[in-house]
């Protein structure tokens, strides 16, 4: 079943689908956006693997800049010990985390690595966990080459401290499978024995058959009692210890009553008991749990700060380079940080041009220049050439780490399952009350009283009630992930429905980090000057120069003596005019002032104000949201553009500038103390603390390569503008759960009628329970699906 080949228009890269810009390359009749993409195409073509493009129209990934030396440290013995799960002389196994894989083609290609290198024996993908396990011959292929191969195809593995834990599926998941299997086995087989009872044919069989079937049912139920239902008992006890009755308490009560009363019936009354209902109950509940836990996510929500750090650093000692794990770095060590390398800990700049990009940490998109001797903080990325740093803190003590681990901002864990807990409390009370009433009704007759008491407990077992939330929210999460909105688990969806205040980060979230708005102020430039400025800027690869270049229209003129001083500016001579374009001090201004100044022949003639472009449709989205929520912006930037934001944000919003990570988190705590339920939306590590503190923390990301900070959910570019609909949907899901509670209570009342009158036979129990469960499942999944269609939520299924 092949997908039809996707025809790319002339304006898109044949490989990755991005728009073609100036660096476009043409080869073999195809156009590519950059050399990297055309190289991937070459590699695939040479190995006859172009089917890659046919399996999925959005297959290709831009590999980005690659440097072979980046992976050299992987050949170190100690490094390999940490990463490889198995190593012998001719066989090694390693499991990579590859977050970029997103479609069928990815799986197809990654499992055919053996076609590129003979030394690769086989490779296997686990798509849910985004893992690739490679089996290769280490004596013929170096690990660094293997990783380089993957990177050159666009699938650079994510190697970090946190990735050491990848590999086996957690034993918890397996345990659930086993519990379901055993409960299902017991349920099916017990039902076979109950069939004669259902059809009232037991009278036609010899006397002792009924009791014997009962015994067999009892035996089959034993593994269910002692294994499959254990988690419900544990949860009920845990709830009791905290003094609360959660929903698992009446559930456990029901299960135990079912088993005890049925055993009593088999041993002392010659009956068959209700074992079919018992096993069935456990089976359905476990299915609900499995549905709720099903991970459809591409994202890992548990990243802590260590995921962003490399595993190893290059230590310099006596002129030699030594690769050591970053946990072993000590104060006073001198390390080498290469181009595009991450700074692992706070230190002093000793040698080289320090130009550090802190965008992920502080949200500032413009790199900072550091002087020799200045302190450079962990988390930044070096964007100039190699530098040497002497460490003043160990990795675990750096400012970034201490921020992350700050005790004051840990989120309290008990925010989950409000609906279920409330239902549990109400239900337990109701059940005990009704059971007592039943006993009182039949009191003179002791055996009838006991039977009624047990019947009430049995039929009141809130199976359907317990299925409402898992299925409604579970389906809700599935629907939302089809719209590009990914949540960690069902409790987050419930928390979303209770919000009343939204806090936005500005840089990178409300504004685009890669697009800039440019305004020029100063003396008007004539055509020649415009072309001159433009031509000079074209020689620089700095994002600001590029923005200016793209915003001006003019001719390409020849420039002499072009020079770029990182962190300051650029200069050049065109037809005798000497220009300097850059910072305030680069052009000789006395006072510090924002902007990119233009100096011609010694005089400053004007300046460009370059700001992050506010995302399209932002106003409309924010206005819609403000109808139902209070809004705030917290930004790390300064007040320069304050007025502009006043206009964009809906009236009455709270705008705060100059916020560092702790300020943001404190602001959220302030709102929470005032009784609000706050949602934080941010994108970088600088928002990480705030994301953890808020009731719901949403990380915003454009890319599929998902280095998002720890959050409860991920907003993608596609889903951001639907935030209003998404929040409406979450409120709708909560309401659907409440309605479904009402329906299941109705079933319970019908059952209670039979119980109180004393005619609750196993047949009736066996009918009511599956009937109510199926009704609830159908209702919740149906109505959540319907509601999503009514709201018009997008459906962007990619895989």
């Amino acid at each position: 079943m092949k997908a039809t080949a996707y025809i790319k228009s002339q304006d898109l890269c044949h490989h990755c689908g991005d728009q073609l810009a100036d660096e476009a390359v043409e080869k073999n009749g195809h156009h590519f956006c950059c050399k990297g993409c055309s190289t991937v195409f070459d590699i695939l073509n040479r190995n006859d693997l172009c089917e890659y493009y046919e399996l999925d129209p959005k297959a290709g990934i831009n590999p980005g800049e690659l440097h072979k030396e980046k992976f050299a440290y992987l050949d170190d013995e100690r490094v390999q010990q940490k990463l490889l799960s198995f190593k012998k002389q001719h066989k090694a196994i390693i499991t990579f985390q590859i977050p970029q894989m997103h479609c069928m083609s990815c799986i197809w290609l990654l499992e055919r690595l053996y076609r590129f290198e003979k030394a690769i024996e086989s490779s296997r993908v686990n798509f849910n966990r985004k893992e690739l396990q490679v089996n290769y011959d280490p004596s013929k292929l170096a690990l660094s080459h293997l990783v380089y191969l993957l990177s050159s195809l666009g699938y650079e593995p994510h190697l970090s401290l946190a990735s050491e834990k990848s590999g086996k599926a957690k034993p918890l998941e397996r345990r659930l499978w086993l519990q379901i299997g055993i409960a299902g086995f017991a349920f099916g087989n017990i039902m076979l024995f109950s069939v004669p009872e259902y059809f009232d044919s037991l009278g036609q069989l010899p006397e002792n058959f009924k009791n014997s079937f009962g015994f067999i049912s009892l035996l089959l139920s034993l593994p269910v009692l002692f294994f499959s239902d254990l988690d419900y008992f544990k949860s009920a006890l845990a709830g009791l210890r905290k003094g609360a009755f959660n929903l698992d308490f009446p559930l456990s009560l029901g299960m135990i009553s079912l088993f005890i009363y049925s055993s009593y019936s088999v041993f002392f009354e010659g009956g068959m008991g209700y074992f079919d209902s018992f096993a069935g109950l456990v089976f359905f509940l476990l299915l609900g749990k499995a549905f709720q836990n099903k991970t459809i996510n591409q994202f890992s929500f548990d990243r802590d700060y260590r995921s962003f750090f490399p595993l190893f650093a290059i230590k310099l000692k006596n002129g030699n380079q030594e690769t050591i794990p970053i946990e072993n770095l000590k104060v006073g060590d001198r390390i080498l940080v290469q181009h595009q390398g991450l700074i692992p800990s706070d230190g002093y700049l000793l040698k080289g041009n320090g130009v550090i990009d802190y965008s992920f940490v502080t949200g500032e998109s413009i790199p900072e220049t550091k002087q020799l001797g200045e302190v450079i903080y962990a988390g930044g990325r070096q964007v100039s050439n190699n530098i040497e740093i002497e460490l003043k803190k160990t990795v675990s003590n750096s400012y970034l780490t201490s921020l992350w681990n700050n005790e004051k901002f840990q989120k309290p864990k008990e925010k989950l399952n409000r609906l279920n807990d409330n239902a549990g409390r109400f239900f337990t009370l109701g059940v005990v009350l009704v059971a007592l009433i039943g006993v009182l009704m039949w009191l003179p007759d002791i055996s009838a009283s006991i039977r009624v008491f047990a019947s009430v407990l049995i039929i009141a077992c809130p199976c359907a009630l317990a299925l409402s939330a898992p299925f409604a929210f579970g389906n809700g999460i599935r629907i939302l992930s089809r719209s590009g909105f990914y949540l960690k688990n069902t409790s987050v969806l419930e928390a979303l429905s209770r919000l009343d205040h939204l806090v936005f980060d500005k840089t990178g979230t409300l504004t685009d980090n890669h697009k800039f708005d440019i305004n020029y102020s100063g003396r008007r430039l004539n055509d020649l000057e415009v072309s001159q400025v433009r031509s000079i800027c074209s020689h620089s690869s700095h994002p600001m120069s590029k923005s200016i270049f793209q915003s001006l229209v003019g001719q390409d003129l020849l420039v002499n003596e072009f020079r770029e001083t990182p962190g300051k500016g650029i200069e050049g001579i065109q037809k005798g005019d000497k220009y300097r374009i850059g910072n305030w001090d680069w052009v000789g201004q006395q006072e510090m002032e924002q902007g990119v100044f233009v100096q011609k022949n010694g005089t400053v003639i004007g300046k460009f104000m370059i700001e992050g472009h506010v995302r399209e449709e932002m106003s409309r989205t924010l206005d819609e949201l403000s109808l139902n929520y209070d809004m705030s912006i917290c930004s790390g930037d300064n007040k320069a553009s304050w007025k502009k934001w006043l206009e964009i944000m809906p009236s009455g919003s709270n705008i705060k500038f100059d916020q560092d990570p702790q300020d943001k988190a404190k602001e959220i705590q302030k709102l929470q103390k005032a009784g609000n339920r706050v949602c934080m939306i941010g994108d970088g590590l600088n928002d990480g603390l705030a994301l953890k503190t808020a009731d719901v923390g949403l990380a915003f990301t454009e890319k599929k390569d998902t280095l998002t900070p720890a959050s409860d959910g991920v907003l993608s570019g596609a889903s951001f503008y639907d935030l209003d609909k998404i929040l409406k949907f979450s409120r709708g899901c909560s309401n659907i759960v409440r309605i479904s509670f009402a329906i299941s209570i109705l079933y319970n009342c019908i059952g209670l009628y039979f119980a109180l009158i004393g005619i609750l036979s196993p047949v009736i129990a066996a009918i009511l329970m599956p009937l109510s469960s199926i009704t609830i499942v159908a209702f919740t999944t149906g109505s959540t699906g319907l509601y999503s269609r009514i709201l018009g939520l997008k459906n962007l299924i990619s895989n």
Binding site: E51, N126, F127, A169, W177, G181, P206, F209
Partner: protein
């Protein structure tokens, strides 16, 4: 009619063998990744020089 108990015994015994097989496959890790094998099956491998194995 008492023969039915022998029959029950045999059928339960068979059923337990299958349950055992299920438990074995879960412990072996066959249920760890329910998604990818389904996709993998749909790939067609054109005739290329096969690796000798």
């Amino acid at each position: 009619m008492e023969i039915i108990f022998t029959l029950i015994g045999i059928s339960v015994f068979l059923a337990i063998i299958f349950l055992g097989a299920f438990i074995w496959s879960v412990k072996r890790g066959q249920y760890d990744d329910p998604l990818t094998p389904g996709i993998r099956i749909l790939f067609e491998d054109k005739k290329h020089q096969k690796k000798s194995k």
